[in-house]
Subunit: 407 residues, 2 copies
Amino acid sequence: MGSNVSITTTEGGVTAPQGFRSSALHAGIKTKTGALDLAIIAADGPASAAALFTTNLAQAAPVLTSREHLERSGGIARAIVVNSGCANACTGDQGMADAAQMAAEVGSALGCRPEHVLVASTGVIGVNLKMGALVPGIRQAAQSLARGRGGDAARAIMTTDPFPKECAVTVRTPAGWFIVGGIAKGSGMIEPMMATMLGFLTTDAAVPPDLLAVALREAAADTFNAITVDGECSTNDSLFALASGASGVAIDGESYSALLQGLLAVSRELALAIVRGGEGATKLIAVNVHDARTREEARQVARTIANSPLVKTAVHGADPNWGRIVAAAGRSGINFDLRKATVHVGGVLLFEHGLPHDDAAPQAAEHLKGSEVSIDVRLGTGGGQAATIWTCDLTAEYIRINGEYRT
Amino acid sequence: MGSNVSITTTEGGVTAPQGFRSSALHAGIKTKTGALDLAIIAADGPASAAALFTTNLAQAAPVLTSREHLERSGGIARAIVVNSGCANACTGDQGMADAAQMAAEVGSALGCRPEHVLVASTGVIGVNLKMGALVPGIRQAAQSLARGRGGDAARAIMTTDPFPKECAVTVRTPAGWFIVGGIAKGSGMIEPMMATMLGFLTTDAAVPPDLLAVALREAAADTFNAITVDGECSTNDSLFALASGASGVAIDGESYSALLQGLLAVSRELALAIVRGGEGATKLIAVNVHDARTREEARQVARTIANSPLVKTAVHGADPNWGRIVAAAGRSGINFDLRKATVHVGGVLLFEHGLPHDDAAPQAAEHLKGSEVSIDVRLGTGGGQAATIWTCDLTAEYIRINGEYRT
């Protein structure tokens, strides 16, 4: 079926698929006047819903609430409500009550059960939501849902991300076409105590909840779960998917790959935008590991290289420092024979048979001066498995952003 | 026995124990005229020997050579030869031949078998040793071994460490007294492609090789293996111990703890000096994790916090950012109940019952302005196990040091 599917970029984001409306406004959580800090993404009727949440033990109230709502609803949701400016994390019982009230207010306005509303928050940790401002905001936002306003939602979920992130694709299949859209915010922890990756995907394909959950997990593995800015994982990280069915194209086992391709295309673009907008980042780095025994081993080697501060600073300095790449791979915990491994930077061979090719260093240094960098490590195990992790360079700006005193 | 043992600091370093001599000179590996780059530490006769080496898959030729010599000799050594300025790592068959020749030259000069000589190197990776300069240097150094010159050896193993590291202690036991001394160099990877932690411990206690190996491993677990500057692990990391027996104090099962206390005292001081001299470091941070189920779990939580760039930048900025500490503990992979956990910074309670104590933040911020910082996380598992990891803050200077182009 794969060859009969075509994917093309289309206008918009989370409301590009049929059957979705959104609204965004300034409720007053952010102190800056007029700054959008509240968004609702609503389906016209009950939609299939799936989500992935942070694996951190410290899970924010909205994460716990959304997880519980998805369990109780059996994977059906009508809307997602999200605020920025306050993460509602480490806020105890009051935080749980506030997250529940956010869902209840949306349910009341849209005429659906509270457990059909999912909740997300991003912003400062350890501070309670200003419910006196948020509740009137939610009521007003629920009255002004519209199509074509996904861009405002993309802005309303930003904390200190340098730019909004939205995209959509049209997926054409023999059985008809459907759209996948999405918005995301990155780990722009520019204000200390802020931290969160949030992603919201929508599609007008008709997908049973179980299949949507499988597709979301598979798409995230090579996109949202294949990026790293600093190896940190927040209390609020969440990725949601809603499927309205409004296109009339039904997804089953046979057409599953078309849905997956659509989710992958949108997720990949949003995930790479998060890395490009990483704190202090000036370069997008693709770390590709080839010829591992398993994909998981390839991922672990790639992740160790991608999180190595020595590799990230070397890339920042346009230094083709293969020694740091070899040393990071060597401490990844994955077994391989260094004498069979090779390292390329920008396609230039720098290390082979256990020995450097330092004559090629100037050519690799030229590649590193660009804004998109590739590092390729071939482990030579004969297993043939590969994986990619995307990251950014580590700069003095990252230190400045994260080292300033909070109060 | 512990209560009958007293430990007092004494003068000197690696030649403070009886039965050891050292020499150091400029052989010509470092380009700077007169910079010490070669040292020999020699016992007056066959000594018990033990060592710990990097767990990195990419192991330098001197590591492979020393490991093999220790196996062949059954834990007996007469001398250690070490050069700085060139790591002899990723140097293939030529590198192995060069390391073997270093040992052979010392053996020839001292009249012992080559496998009774251990080898260490630190400096640039991927470059062959200048044997034309090193071999005459080794011959000359072997002729000028003396007591009381351990300070020169401490300087000769530096690459771009900000200061030399040596210390010694006298251990008094009911059966007599002995001395433990040592020198070390840190992970001052100030010149790109440089990387290595090296430690050399000596004692004049009489210790069988097997017991020395056990004591070295146990002492390192809470000292050299409990520090981290940036989570990187090099190709050359090595820690050696030699025991001459010249004090006449024999170590057996009963007096083992006296030896361990001596090794711990010296190892701890050297290890903390490495962190203080970490790249760009301005603060020494002790991350103490309490009440874990096992020591290994306590270590894993402490290590995750100690390697968190967000925690390290917050400490640099004197920001008592308990949220980053909680988030790092939460993603460590160790299971615990956040509501039973507490976080103290400088002894000030900042997080308890899942909620912040932000009123105490200014007091904690004052503590963070000092040069020695403590972070205490109590997991509340009821297991009662604890561990400490030492690290340093992450500064813009680290980025500058590691981000400059190598050529």
